[in-house]
Symmetry: none
Amino acid sequence: MSLSIQQKFEAPAMPRSDDGRRRKPTRIQSLRQGEIIKAGLEVFARYGFKGATIDQIAEKAGMSKTNLLYYYRCKEDIYLSVLQRTLEMWIAPLEEMRADGDPALEIRAYIARKIRFSREHAVASRVFAMEILQGAPNLERVIRDDIRAHVEERAAVIRAWADAGKIRKIDPYHLFFTIWAATQTYADFSSQIAAILDKPALDGGDFDAAEETLCDLILNGLLPG
Amino acid sequence: MSLSIQQKFEAPAMPRSDDGRRRKPTRIQSLRQGEIIKAGLEVFARYGFKGATIDQIAEKAGMSKTNLLYYYRCKEDIYLSVLQRTLEMWIAPLEEMRADGDPALEIRAYIARKIRFSREHAVASRVFAMEILQGAPNLERVIRDDIRAHVEERAAVIRAWADAGKIRKIDPYHLFFTIWAATQTYADFSSQIAAILDKPALDGGDFDAAEETLCDLILNGLLPG
Amino acid sequence: MSLSIQQKFEAPAMPRSDDGRRRKPTRIQSLRQGEIIKAGLEVFARYGFKGATIDQIAEKAGMSKTNLLYYYRCKEDIYLSVLQRTLEMWIAPLEEMRADGDPALEIRAYIARKIRFSREHAVASRVFAMEILQGAPNLERVIRDDIRAHVEERAAVIRAWADAGKIRKIDPYHLFFTIWAATQTYADFSSQIAAILDKPALDGGDFDAAEETLCDLILNGLLPG
Amino acid sequence: MSLSIQQKFEAPAMPRSDDGRRRKPTRIQSLRQGEIIKAGLEVFARYGFKGATIDQIAEKAGMSKTNLLYYYRCKEDIYLSVLQRTLEMWIAPLEEMRADGDPALEIRAYIARKIRFSREHAVASRVFAMEILQGAPNLERVIRDDIRAHVEERAAVIRAWADAGKIRKIDPYHLFFTIWAATQTYADFSSQIAAILDKPALDGGDFDAAEETLCDLILNGLLPG
DNA sequence: GATGAATGAGGCTTCATTCAT
DNA sequence: CATGAATGAAGCCTCATTCAT
């Protein structure tokens, strides 16, 4: 699947060939852009778009600000690239849910993937969350245009399971909203959760417990008595 | 209950009496401060701390920037006041859950209160969420010191219900994390949800559906088969 | 003697009678103005004109800023009043030097008066010094117009003593400049002097030693061998 | 000798190499910093720290405010650099006084150097004076820690001369205070002196007369009858 | 007399971005 | 490719001063 946030998105600052078309990025360009995205992910996650500074990103990426601006025209372009990346990561787990599988197994696996995402890509999750929180100015369109369709497909699966009596009747959309929220919270609100658990930070055991509790709750809630 | 984020918190720019204690705020002071908090809530929710500008808040509050700074020494003080307000609103629903009530009713009522909060105070919820998202720099301590204890009390209730066989065994903390996430998402991530539902914004019916789905799911999940 | 810095000087903010003439200041007006001048002296001495704030002065004077501005139209007026005061204090010691006295005694007494001034009115001395340092924008005229004449009178005394062979020939102006500088330095530069002497602040003994050393030096330097 | 006001002092805004050490300043950096210090000297001398504005300094230095802030992180850093410069100039004349020289010649030469400093670097002298006047907040430590020792060395020379009967017994510290004050006054208080002498400004003849009068007075005062 | 409320100008600093090398 | 130099817009905050009670 290819989701694209915006057109301006597809073309960073890179020089063009004489006829105005973009050239294929050189090896070093791809390399540097990857470093920048990685650095940007961390900085945007912590400080938000306005709060982040190009200097911070450049430093974390180990290059000068001016050099960074050689690869990305402006701050917003970095941000959009970062968002694009998070978007792809966000959608991935959903893709794998299969209509012909066993509902319990499929749902359990989906929850597991989402929890793993929160655990391994908490920073990306937070960038995504912050964008949504602010009204999703850069994501609204792509969500409405592309992601909605994907969700609709999966919702149909849920609905089919319910119609077949394999799970209780439930609004599939709100089921997804609940699963998303309940899994992502371990990335997005981990500082609150860690504070409540009186730990310095969440560890592997916490994520395991989260997954188990959540699977129990949801599967018990979903499966027919 | 009185939660206090910080000491500096307790006193805006207002003049003091000779002995250094705060005087009782005049009517107009309370009025203006209320207007500022209200405006700040909206602006901080949309743009985050760094992204918000005093000018925006002042304009929304219908006063000049300088006048606003007559009531709050600096931007951070406004923000802390706003956070304080959201914190109090956030904790309130938890307080009402009663150990001697019927588990199903109590949990259902708790979820309803949380959903109502998301519906009626979405802006406050977002400010709170954004603070947590950024690592809760201003809330970490009060969560660890005060809120944790409150949650522990309610967790004990859940545990007691489970021990009495009234509900299934479940980790009470993760249950709360799930409920919080699943309810607050309708405030914090409403723009995503609305986009998925292909609506311009969430309406009352959406919140009702959310509440119903969530109650079904959680209660089915919790109550003994 | 009456030295007047400027015309605007003669009339603070005080209300006028109906025919526009100033009224005689009431007792409370004189009282408050005295408090303000005293406070202003300290604040201007420490922070300079720009660095001083009306708030600081008001606080030190124990009144509200607005109230202070009831007595003085603006910051500059306070400053000018303060300067006026320092000017009068500065000129006083010079007035007492008598032509018909014994040169040694007169000069010794003059130095003693100047040292006493530095000791007892260090703050005023510093305000005066700071004004001069900045080019004496408010004092230049009155120095040229009034003080110069006073100095000229005393210079004539010195010259007469020299002509009479009571003291060596010396340029009387530069003699005064030396005495002024050498005595005032114990007020104006006391922080440097205290640091060199490795003390927290100058004490009575230091001023005594200063006076003695200075008198010895100058009298030995002046009196005919 | 190397006097250092503060650590923060040693490094303007300039970029660092990866290991955090400062790089050698480029030619243009040294150039611009010199221009800034020169401009700062004049502006701080006239208006004091608070009274001076970065804009004024930038304009005098012939660059934009922002560009100036590219070289110095903040106003205080400029000021500290300026102070550092004046400090070095202030201490220099003291260093050359030699114990094995003839007292009369050495003292005369010292006075001459101090007068020359007042004449040629009046602006620096005033910046230094203003700092001291305000309580030497930035110089107190370096005076107490470093300069005091230098003065102590020279004081020992004076004391040795006195013990050897080459000059009268005198407190060497207060002797220095007098010489400093009496020479620096021609820089610091030149506007007052010029007004008393009824001249627009001091000229070479005035400094010569000052030097001569002062040398006469002090040497007559010091040398054994 | 005295104080609370309000304002506008000005100053410091940050930061994205552009220019030159 | 990469960096140093330069800029302008914008934001926070201070402060003298005025208005209204």
